[in-house]
Amino acid sequence: MTTLLRIELERFRCRGVLWLVAGLLLLTGSGYVLMTWGHTAPASAAEVAAATEAFRVDAEGAKQFVERCLELQATDEGNDLDCRPPDLPTLSQYIPEPPELSWELGDAVGGMKVPVLIAALAMGVSFVTAEFGARTMGTWLTFAPRRSRVLASKTGAAVIGVLPAALAALAVTIGGVVLVYLVRGLDLGEASVWTDLLRFVTHLLPAAAVAAVLGAGLAFAVRNAAAVAGIVVWWALAVEVALPQIIPALAPATLGLNLRAWLEGGAEYTVQECRPDPDVLGAQVCEDVARTVGSAQGGLVLLLTAAVVLAIGALVFRRRAVT
């Protein structure tokens, strides 16, 4: 088994398409770093001029307000007016400031969630379907005839192969954003930023591993990347989007909600609860009630889904002829 896993890892390492996907993931992370660079740039001369002008207009307005107020106060009608000048912001408050690191990191790492999971799924699918597509599985089975071992080693390699790619992309994103703040000489904020970040990343990486298992399981079941893509699109439209709208109580069955719950420490959904109207006989009063899916439940549903799909893939792989 270890030998098979080692061979599969070497195959994974040698596949150009998988490097391409990992490269795209790094590129996406780099994109967030570039966006941070833009967000944290010092105010330009034009921005300073605009801020100065806005400050001047507001100060002039305040001055006119006081003058007018004093004029009114001098009359009988306005003798009870309070003509103290309003609290004006300082000029520096008119000049745009860079966002806090916690915000920027939250945006960047949160934005990497979907690309990381899609990349993990795609890598799992591609790693297995390539074998069927090139029809090399038959050759491989004449060397490693126990199909359950082949399935386990391939799935294991997909998981192990996906994690460094996801980790590298997240490291580039987080490291890049922090580096931007250091280069700009900006405040790194409080330590709690890192606690939240660590929690998110340690939940995202297992989710990526589950996505890779899901991809491998689907690939073993249908053997064709286009067919897997079709299933994923169908699931997204029919189950993730349409089903909760038709039957809101089934929302906890969707992967999207459970994924959000797992990554964000819980996720809410609403269901309509109705009860007899005490004022009108035969009528009902309905209201939207928020319910929560916990993080553990979300993780468990993701894990079970991947296990079921992999079991289906294993069943099909064991029973169907291989060319």
Partner: protein
Amino acid sequence: MSDEPAIRTRGLRKTYRSFTLREVVAVEGLDLEVPVGGVHAFLGPNGAGKTTTIRMLLGLERPDSGSIRVLGHDLPGGLGAAVAKVGAIVEQPRFYPAFSGRRNLSLLAQSVGAGAKVDGLLAQVGLADRAGDRYRSYSLGMKQRLAVASTLLKDPELVIFDEPTNGLDPAGVHDVRTIMRALADAGRTVLVSSHMLAEVEQVADTVSIVVGGRLVADGRVADLIGSRARGAVRVDVTDPVRGGEALERRGWIVRRDGEVLVVEGVDDPVEISRVLADAGVYARELVAERPDLEQVFLELTGAQGAARPQGVGA
């Protein structure tokens, strides 16, 4: 060595469903026996079920019914133990197109602990110079050579070649033939499925012929050919007309091939000399035509049903 054959199938049956859900029988009650050692040819026209049978022997397909025993192991339970001693090329050779020949072979070699054999095998099949090139850049012949090399990685007791000479040039065909013979001479069993009957005849010791998924003949190649050797005799005579008439009067079927007479149904060519001499016609040359495997194959697979011919078989 026990008397148990290298491969034994009993009542092997495999069907497929077509797109219209019609049942297509690929293999029908096949009883195949491949003796240990030597080269065994597995012949049959296209669609006869040869590749399906080979795929079932390797566990790539499940039979609907029947039993398979390979190298003393019952399938599917003993598949792992059996396949560990089998090297095989099934249909077209298939490797990763983006990997080099060496990497493809090396990955397979690692699974059987034969990494050290890779370079030697690449040299043996004449791919040493191109071993670093991507597989997708290989010609069909080079792909076949790489596949042959892959079958030898396991130091196999049984080697299965499914159309191993497809796409090979004459030198490549000769090399594969030499490899097959060498393997057999070293005590291994070689099962070869091929359409190149002349090649097979040169190298095969025993043969099984299948048609429509059924075995129609098997046995030693020489016996199979010999059983159909009530052959034709080519006779070059001084007077073909008179000679032909004399031979026909004897009850033989006589054809003219230019100035030469071809006499069929002769048990002993000496009889021809006697009849011609009695008629005052003299033979300049008299050659017994030896039927070859191709003729036997065509006769068996031509316009016949699935019945097993008399007098042939193990």
